[in-house]
Symmetry: C2
Subunit: 436 residues, 2 copies
């Protein structure tokens, strides 16, 4: 019988992910011991209220409200409380006390990543966060390790399950945003206050984390351009469908040359965009997530799976825990986060994309010419234009697809169109991404 | 100016992957130095013939035929020669001399993995092989690290690009196997001797590697049941298409309870199978690869990308190299391969699957009853049966889909059908995988 050494693990938070982590740690203790070569002992679970009702039965003797003491008695701290404080203070405290840390806290990383990584590097602590992006999907470790010798050019991610569920439902049933959101709430895919999801805040945090990692550059969430799905209409989804596209909320991280400076920079942004049906991301249904990565040598790669869910996300947390614990057994510190590149962070105006614009215009001679003039004077090239005369007299609908142009030029074009006397309204503006 | 220490890298082999690794190492030297915190020096490239013509220009002064001396002067050895010998002896020599090793040699790993891992573990050497399966796709590291805390139940992999190109082309154009193979050869997707690919040998090696890793059990390639695509006909592909399926060559690794012993065991197998069009693997086109993983906590995951190609596979090699080199900088050995589980390896007869069987039968009363009797006496339940009377008189075609049954029972059923006086011929037998 082998005498295994014990590694003490303290868990902060017992929500949907935390309680599953605790359950799996307790249930699969023997198997984990063999994989690690040491015994994992869950020494405590810090919660706000030890008497609170939980989905998963947890041993009451492990529950504590004293997170600080728990940290001091832990070799590895798993932080799954969410939010900035007290999570930030506790994680910094854990690192300072010599513990390694696993966290799934995207808000914390997207706002204070550099501070945490610097603190960890200073003492040689490991800080892992696979669960922070893409739930169960291995994406952090592949970006950090597997693609470490490659050069990542672009990431297109469906990283928010709630909005993907809503948009997928609008696409498959023709439902309005309101109805699809109501269904999502009913089925437990959306929270009572859905702002973080439908406003794109959650996706923006994940974009910040992915961009930092992919481009070896600190990208705070404040540098991420963010548009949510609240403006997406059933009409837009229907038009997209008939044109061979699907509307997806994308987190886009891109390395590009800023043509003003001639220097490379990084753009991170979140917005609903048209994706061609033939693109692998178009086939990501329901609350699933997928991250599409374009690397210089590897070419296109996609990572797909459950982007949320307690037990699914717990898988990512335990993967980090096992990897860290193995290092305790074989010795040697973890790998520090690299931000050696520190590329400039580019404003949304600097990126290049394509627009699909729907206009309500007067149905009279010379209108097309005037519209075309607006595009031309902003240097935006029109790829296709489709006019349908609506039932109401003297009105027509114009759907215009542009070639690639600078976002700033496109935005100015749309503003000028809105001012044009022949345009009654700009009914829809969506970017087109993922085109081949 | 930081003085970086130098890590000496010796490259064995300068084929399509090796020459791209050399090129990228030389071209991206500065960027790699920053990511690693040490300078990578490519000290030599061992080849059989220093005068041979190569696609990529390599510095002639780096070429050598003396692999043994190159190894002795290397901190990290990259083995991309392929084949068992002299690769095996050289890799063991590198490990013995204190070097870490990156290899993309699937034949070597599938046949001698345990020997190599044991040698590496004994001296604390790192041995990485991301390039051995799925080309550029990060799959080895996600299985080993990201899913280390989960329990993998099943892997369905499209791991051979040549056969996927051929089957995809048969599916999309109706071509015969011969014609699709000819196209693959013409376009450079198939080698002059395509046996390793179309015979399923390449996929079987990858199945052995994936199963070993996923189930913490040594699975030699000799334990992998292997069927190639040589028997797949245009007719089968067409029938599959009209029934909502696509034929794919799958590498399947499965953890299952052997009901004879009541114990868990591992099955690894390669065969062409019907996959429902709605399954993510059905959308893997051309020479691309994808690995679909079902884990107990994480649920279904998919990893998709280029499964071959010199520069693509070089990305995986460089990822391993950077990860190993970082460990040189921060200290501490690598993580040993775990085979703690050593589950029994189950024969193909023990697995459970579904069959799609096409029979040519006499078109006369009582035939269906006799056919049904054959299924019933072998304990195989029929899910659906479709009869079409063919143009020729007194002949009918029966397409029978079974429920899940033990492979051995299904095989016996097919053998009994072939003997039945009412069956003129068994036209096609394909397994159905990936059903929901």
């Amino acid at each position: 019988m082998i005498e295994y050494r014990t590694i003490r693990v303290g868990l902060l938070g017992a929500g949907s992910v935390g309680s599953q982590v605790a359950r799996l740690l307790l249930e699969h203790s023997d198997e984990l011991t063999q994989r690690i070569g040491a015994r994992i002992e869950l020494v405590g679970i810090a919660v706000r209220d030890t008497g609170a009702k939980r989905d998963t039965q947890l041993p009451p003797e492990l529950l504590t409200t004293d997170a600080e003491s728990l940290i001091l008695g832990s070799d590895i701290v798993i932080e799954l409380m969410g939010g900035i404080e007290p999570a930030r203070t506790l994680v910094l405290g854990a690192i300072a006390s010599g513990a390694d840390v696993v966290t799934g806290n995207k808000a914390l990383l997207a706002n204070h990543g550099p501070e945490l990584f610097a603190a960890a590097e200073q003492v040689g602590a490991q800080l892992s966060y696979e669960a922070a992006v893409g739930g169960a999907i291995p994406i952090i470790r592949p970006l950090r390790d597997s693609l470490a010798g490659d050069r990542i050019d672009r990431i297109l991610g469906i990283v928010n399950g709630t909005t993907n569920f809503i948009l997928d439902r609008m696409d498959s049933t023709g439902a309005s945003l309101e109805d699809a959101l109501a269904t999502a709430t009913e089925l437990g895919y959306a929270e009572a206050d859905p702002t973080a999801d439908i406003g794109g805040y959650d996706a923006a945090q994940k974009a910040a984390i992915l961009a930092s990692l992919a481009f070896h550059t600190s990208v705070p969430v404040t540098a991420v351009h963010r548009e949510g799905i609240t403006g997406v209409t059933a009409q837009q989804v229907e038009s997209a469908r008939s044109a061979g596209f699907v509307v997806k909320l994308l987190a886009i991280c891109e390395r590009l040359v800023d043509d003003e400076t001639g220097e490379e920079g990084v753009s991170a942004r979140v917005y609903p965009a048209l994706v061609p049906r033939s693109h692998p991301l178009a086939a990501v249904h329901g609350a699933n997530n997928a991250v599409f990565v374009e690397a210089a040598a590897a070419g296109p790669l996609m990572f797909y799976g459950a982007g949320a869910g307690g037990v699914q996300t717990a898988s990512a947390v335990l993967g980090d825990l096992v990897a860290i614990a193995r290092r305790h057994v074989i010795g040697g510190p973890g790998t520090a986060e690299s931000t050696h590149a520190e590329l400039p962070l580019l404003d949304i105006g600097r990126i290049t994309t394509r627009y699909a614009i729907t206009l309500e215009v007067a149905d009279e001679p010379g209108v097309l010419e005037q519209i075309a003039h607006v595009f031309a004077e902003h240097g935006v090239s029109v790829e296709q234009l489709q006019q349908t005369v609506s039932g109401a007299a003297e009105r027509a609908t114009l759907v215009i697809g542009t070639h690639e142009a600078k976002e700033s030029a496109l935005a100015e074009t749309v503003a000028a169109l809105a001012q044009s006397p022949v345009v009654e309204s700009v009914a829809s503006v969506l970017r087109v991404e993922g085109a081949v």
